[in-house]
Subunit: 341 residues, 2 copies
DNA sequence: GATTTTTTGATTTACGTACATCAAATTTGG
DNA sequence: CCAAATTTGATGTACGTAAATCAAAAAATC
């Protein structure tokens, strides 16, 4: 049987009340006594029964999700997963709130975070916009005792506790290798469709992609990046235009959202030529395109996993517990038409 | 706040004791009274607080893992993950035991299961050997109230509650498409290395593989399957022999274990020719081979996820709770050298 | 050494559920 | 209508922890 507070009290030769004071860092314990108790805790390998503690405290975990107000399938999916999590919140003792901020807008994000810093402590999961002022508020919040995980897009160099998202450089590299290998000996040009080069995850994907193409597939040339702003209409226009004007395009890498427009452009302009296409994010549109061979492979991050992982990590941080690292690694899913879920 | 037993009692106009009798299906409640309580439960949307209930009961979840005594990296990994789970068992209230049975031996598996049927109820996670007599015991155990999930290898047609493993047909199909696309226009023969055609997952992978090759890559011919019995030495011998005798081999699909032998054979016999190789299971050997380009892609199932998923499902079944389906889907991981974990 | 302050102990209640006991009420059978 | 059987209520204890109160002991201050 695992030891209880009673065992600790007995082992340390103190009363239950003192053990409680130590465990919950309440004042009024001499240094030496505190040490005795801490030694007993270590030696007996005591671990607080979180379930019992939560029951006694009537505890809930206040969590806030901060999301960009972007109108694309991926963000809708992420929202849906958060709603699912809210449905489970009574069983999981969470109390989840979501806040939308305008996309690509560091100032808006900063003001929301500053608002939170005035409130009582909570766990924060945020899709980070990569800017120094954001980093600063995040660091301040962490120092003030908030737990923060970045979601989908990271904020490297900050004190955030965890990143629940894929390795975007690896994703770009993987896309490049798949494209290169699928094209085999073919030479030609590659069109790259991104959302915006202001977003870190898109920059990283592109970085990974270009470096592998350059290193290992010298016969392929990458055309200037098309920035579709994750908008299907813009994406359609840009891709259709590129395909019309450049007959040497043999492959397309779409590393952002707005793939509905991409697919439409491909069906209009690329019926006659055999293009190899890799896109990000599994949605109804990309899924259909994968099945009808318009797209050859889809790289995906599982929004459900990301949300559940963020919640698990934030709860664990709030309790000062360790997480199972391997469980929280968000994997890059590669879908061909044969392994669709 | 979620409703408690007290709320149910008040709403149904009965005492706490009666609610308790209904909830824990104890005798001594008239039919009409039971209905009243059940109505109140439904109307208030009462859900038992599992944490509090487990605390009160001092409950632990007795779980048994039944594994084949196979000496390969994958099974070692699976074992390691179970040991990790055992380390967490006090926090998760599990009481995990593992039983080894000789591999590919339905009779041995049946006798272990029959032994368990004599003991008190528990949750069972088993690597199934696909045989009618196994199906029969499993069905009997399920009817007797045991929860059963199959692990890695399924037992379709049985009453098992859940399968924690990948879709092996999809895995085979995916391997075929990757190999076909990587080979591009090249024609030639494909060597397939399996463990044993007596194992369901290997049969299914082969089935998926051959069907996609036949449908979509008619220029590729599949050679008779090499059965390496998941043994590195046998695998080495078979693959080396095949490569020596057949100059037309352009690709290899290794759908079982024993890849250490495969890699050795490839390095000896295939230095001069450009083979495309797809293998299953990420181990130290396949990982190194992926990095040095001996292998082109690795298909993997995450043993850690499988074990954790099996445990979550068995616990949920024991409590009569629903599982998050999407969370329990075991995905086929595709690793190129760029997205290794 | 007396007084104040700090530290510690003892005890209680609570969280939501399980489970047991005994008494009281109700139903059933004759 | 009475006795027996069944059903229901009332109550208490337990699980492991949190949190509060008040008394007692120890340490620090003068």
């Amino acid at each position: 049987m695992r030891p209880t507070v009673h065992d600790i009290a007995a082992a340390a030769g103190v009363s239950l009340a003192t053990v409680d004071r130590v465990l919950n860092q309440r004042p009024g314990v001499r240094h030496v006594t505190r040490e005795k108790v801490e030694t007993a805790i270590r030696e007996l390998g005591y671990i607080r029964d979180v379930a019992a503690a939560n029951l006694a405290k009537g505890r809930t975990y206040p969590l806030v999700f901060i999301l960009p107000a972007s109108d694309n399938s991926f963000m809708h999916g992420l929202n849906a997963e958060i709603r699912q999590a809210i449905l489970r919140s009574s069983a999981e003792r969470t109390d989840i709130r979501t806040i939308e901020v305008s996309a690509f807008d560091p100032a808006a994000l900063v003001s929301v975070l500053e608002g939170l810093s005035q409130e009582k402590r909570c766990g924060i999961a945020m899709v980070a916009t990569d800017a120094p002022e954001v980093r600063d508020v995040v660091d301040r919040l962490v120092r003030a005792g908030f737990s923060i995980v970045t979601l989908v897009s990271d904020l490297t160099g900050s004190l955030r506790h965890h990143y629940a998202g894929i390795d975007n450089i690896a994703a770009g590299r993987t896309a490049a290798r798949l494209l290169g290998r699928f094209l085999g000996a073919r030479k030609g040009e590659i069109a790259v469709l991104a959302g915006s080069m202001l977003v870190r995850d898109h920059r990283e994907r592109l970085e990974g992609f270009t470096s592998v193409i350059a290193e290992e597939f010298p016969d392929l040339a990458i055309l200037p990046v098309l920035e579709g702003r994750d908008d299907p209409e813009v994406a359609h226009m840009l891709v259709a235009d590129a395909l019309s004007r450049n007959a040497g395009i043999v492959g397309v890498y779409s590393l952002g959202a707005g793939n509905r427009g991409l697919v439409r452009a491909l069906k209009e302009k690329a019926v006659d030529r055999t293009l190899t296409v890799i896109a990000h994010e599994l949605t109804v549109h990309t899924r259909a395109a994968l099945i009808d061979h318009t797209i050859d492979a889809i790289l995906n991050q599982d929004a459900g996993h990301e949300v559940r992982s963020a919640i698990r990590v934030l709860k664990a941080k709030a309790d000062g517990l360790a997480v199972i690292e391997a469980q929280e690694r968000i994997r890059l899913d590669i879908f061909l038409k044969d392994n669709l879920p």
